[in-house]
């Protein structure tokens, strides 16, 4: 167990973080390289004011017509994304590890709150899964990869929750939790989870076009 633990929290964790960070940078740099090479005109239309105007509307629940049209989805998706990012960063156990490894002392969530947030993430994943299976317009454009990325996202939270509660085979689930977290990190730059990286840019560009050229709202 020690060897396995040392491996998944040592070299594997390093590898996962390096792939995540370097991969993300690579994807972003590659995108900017492509813009430079072929669509340099994009820069002439980019505007900070309109980019942020657009981003601000879309990251605010119910601030856009489409968010208003889908109240349940809006609540779920905002809760999901907030919990998805906040929970792993500020989880007490993770904060301890941040501190032990890097001497970074972060504020930590109370475990009870983190527990609820984890359930929110898992519940949201189930919601998204059901949505994919049930709604024809979503089903129609769903491919196997959509289920895979959903599973990749849900896995660290499910395993983490089981491990934290120590229901069955604690050590196994801890190892699974760590590995699934690492899989998710690695998957971010190289799957459509990369919307985490790209969506601010696509949003900003559309916001700039609508604000600067079209004089219209894009929300």
């Amino acid at each position: 167990m020690h060897d396995l633990y040392n491996f998944v929290t040592g070299p594997l964790a390093w590898a996962a973080f390096i792939v995540f960070i370097a991969g993300s940078l690579y994807r972003l740099i590659n995108m900017l390289y492509l813009v430079n090479k072929k669509e340099k005109f994009i820069y002439t239309y980019m505007s900070f004011k309109y980019s942020f105007r657009s981003i601000f509307h879309w990251i605010t629940p119910f601030a856009t017509v489409n968010w208003q049209r889908h109240p349940v989805l809006t609540i779920v998706t905002f809760a999901f994304h907030i919990c998805l990012i906040i929970t792993p960063v500020f989880l007490l156990s993770h904060a301890i590890l941040w501190d032990e490894s890097w001497n970074i002392s972060l504020w930590a969530l109370p475990d009870g709150v983190a527990d609820i947030m984890t359930l929110v993430v898992v519940g949201s994943c189930i919601f998204f899964l059901v949505r994919r299976l049930v709604l024809p317009e979503v089903q129609y454009v769903t491919s196997a990869s959509d289920y895979v990325i959903l599973a990749i996202v849900a896995a660290p939270f499910i395993t983490g929750f089981i491990a934290y509660n120590q229901w069955i085979n604690y050590q196994l689930f801890m190892i699974l939790h760590i590995i699934s977290g690492e899989i998710m990190l690695v998957a971010i730059p190289f799957t459509r989870l990369s919307h985490m990286l790209f969506s601010p840019f696509t949003r900003a560009y559309m916001g700039s076009e609508f604000g600067g050229v079209r004089n219209a709202k894009d929300w």
Binding site: M31, L32, L34, V35, K37, K38, E39, F41, I42, T44, Y45, S54, W58, T64, V65, N66, R69, H70, L73, L135, P136, E137, V138, Q139, Y140, V141, T142, S143, D146, R192, S194, H195, F198, S199, F201, T202, R203, A204, Y205, M206, G207, E209, F210, V213, R214, N215, A216, K217, D218, W219
Partner: protein, 451 residues
């Protein structure tokens, strides 16, 4: 209401498409698709396709989707799935049949209205992706016949309707004479160098709606505008090449247009009530030619009417009394932000404006734009069935009293006319100019002078 859109598809015969498809080989398809994707697209297409999370939230933006009882094949992302995703996934190795299907989807089941861009949380420009598909179809020579014909016309005559060199000034002089019966001093000044404004129209106006030129001339005259129209090529601001993906022709005709204005040393181009032409002159053509914004300020008719009404250069005799509703054309509203000015103008000339819902940037497209109506009669029912939701929207506003429908755009006008007839809505459709001409104060002509 009229019969719902049936999903059984009629086999549409379109010679441009059919002959084009019959000449395709797998090799050629693969070569052209990959050439367009490799050489003509970049970060946008790649990022859009890879960022899309397949959430389906764009669906309800699309009038085709709504009109076909939420059939997912008609959702914006559904159309991308059936076209671009497949092309990318198979790296261009798709069949001629696939290309035919893609051509029909891209050309007749999407108006490039960009409403979906307002509904996608990531701001993915789906209309742009469909434009790339159209570009591929163009390169493969499979563009639907009718719109291809207009592109040919652009190429040969620099106007959309095969209007020949002499027919153009002839038409203008004819309309000048007609208008002089009403205002004897009226002129349509041709080739007046140094005028403030060059007035440009789309080719269907001289071809079969010449009275619109007459009306515009009266408005210009009464408002004492220092204006001119070119007697040469470059007078047409329309652009179907933009919609067929024939960017090279688009560039040629836009260059002719801007250069004509610049030859006449005018300060601004004022254009008639047309949406797609505005898109071409204000947004697309200039970019192809390397201008961030148009080289000469472009003023759409709505904006121009706003200006002359606001400045009091035109007085209103008696406002139009029939209750009206206003259709916001995608290209000038979602594409140019003229919705509030349009309302100012309509309120200035009409007693009672009843809003349809949704309106402004969120209005439903007329289903004629984006070159769809220009694909001609074979696809008329595609447009009508694809926009049942527009009929519902119009019925609702009619129930609230709006008898006249104002559509300040040629394509919208024709598309709404078809919807109006087919669904039996029974509204009268007018341009803003029609009403403005009707209600404005014109110089009194002595009884004796008038014949």
């Amino acid at each position: 209401m009229a019969e719902p859109a049936k999903s059984e598809e009629k086999i549409i015969s379109d010679i441009g498409l059919d002959v084009g498809i019959s000449k395709l080989t797998d090799d050629r398809i693969e070569k052209e698709i990959n050439s367009v994707i490799k050489n003509e697209t970049g970060a946008r297409l790649k990022t859009y396709v890879e960022t899309c999370i397949h959430c389906g939230l764009c669906s309800e933006a699309c009038h085709y989707y709504l009109s076909h009882d939420n059939d997912p094949r008609f959702s914006p992302v559904g159309k991308v799935k059936q076209t671009m995703w497949e092309m990318l996934r198979k790296k261009g190795k798709v069949s001629p049949d696939f290309i035919k299907k893609a051509a029909i989807i891209a050309h007749t089941e999407c108006n490039l209205c960009k409403r979906c861009a307002q509904y996608c949380p990531f701001g993915i420009d789906i209309a742009y992706i469909i434009t790339v598909v159209r570009r591929i179809i163009h390169r493969l020579g499979c563009t639907p016949q009718y719109i291809q014909d207009t592109a040919h016309s652009h190429s040969v005559t620099m106007n959309q309707m095969w209007v020949k060199g002499d027919e153009w000034p002839d038409t203008l002089q004819w309309q000048e004479e007609e208008a002089q019966a009403e205002i004897p001093t009226l002129r349509i000044p041709l080739e007046k160098e140094g005028a403030d404004i060059m007035y440009s129209v789309i080719a269907p106006e001289p071809k079969f709606q010449a009275q619109l030129i007459y009306q515009a001339a009266v408005i210009m005259d009464v408002a004492c505008v220092n204006w001119t129209m070119p007697a040469t090529m470059g007078w047409d601001n329309s652009d179907m090449a933009m919609f067929t993906g024939d960017n090279e022709i688009m560039g040629r005709i836009k260059r002719a247009h801007y250069e004509t204005a610049s030859r006449l040393k005018v300060k601004r181009i004022v254009m008639g009530e047309c949406g797609h032409a505005f898109r071409s002159v204000y947004d697309m053509g200039n970019r192809w030619l390397g201008w961030q914004m148009p080289p000469i300020p472009i003023v759409h008719a709505i904006d121009f009417y706003y200006e002359i009404l606001k400045e009091g250069r035109i007085k209103i005799k008696k406002k139009y009394e029939t209750p009206v509703t206003l259709h916001d054309p995608c290209n000038v509203v979602r594409g140019g932000g003229l919705h509030e000015k349009a309302r100012y103008v309509v309120n200035a000339i009409c007693e009672n404006l009843i809003e349809m819902h949704p309106n402004r940037e969120h209005n439903y497209c007329c289903c004629a734009g984006g070159g769809v109506i220009n694909c001609g009669p074979p696809y008329k029912m595609t447009r009508i069935n694809g926009n049942r939701v527009k009929a519902e929207q119009l019925f609702a506003v009619k129930a609230r009293g709006a008898k006249t429908l104002i559509a300040p755009c040629h394509n919208c006008h024709s598309g709404l006319e078809d919807i109006n007839h087919h669904y039996g809505i029974g509204q009268e459709i007018k341009f803003i100019g029609d009403i403005l001409y009707e209600v404005m104060e014109k110089p009194e002509v002595e009884e004796g002078e008038k014949e």
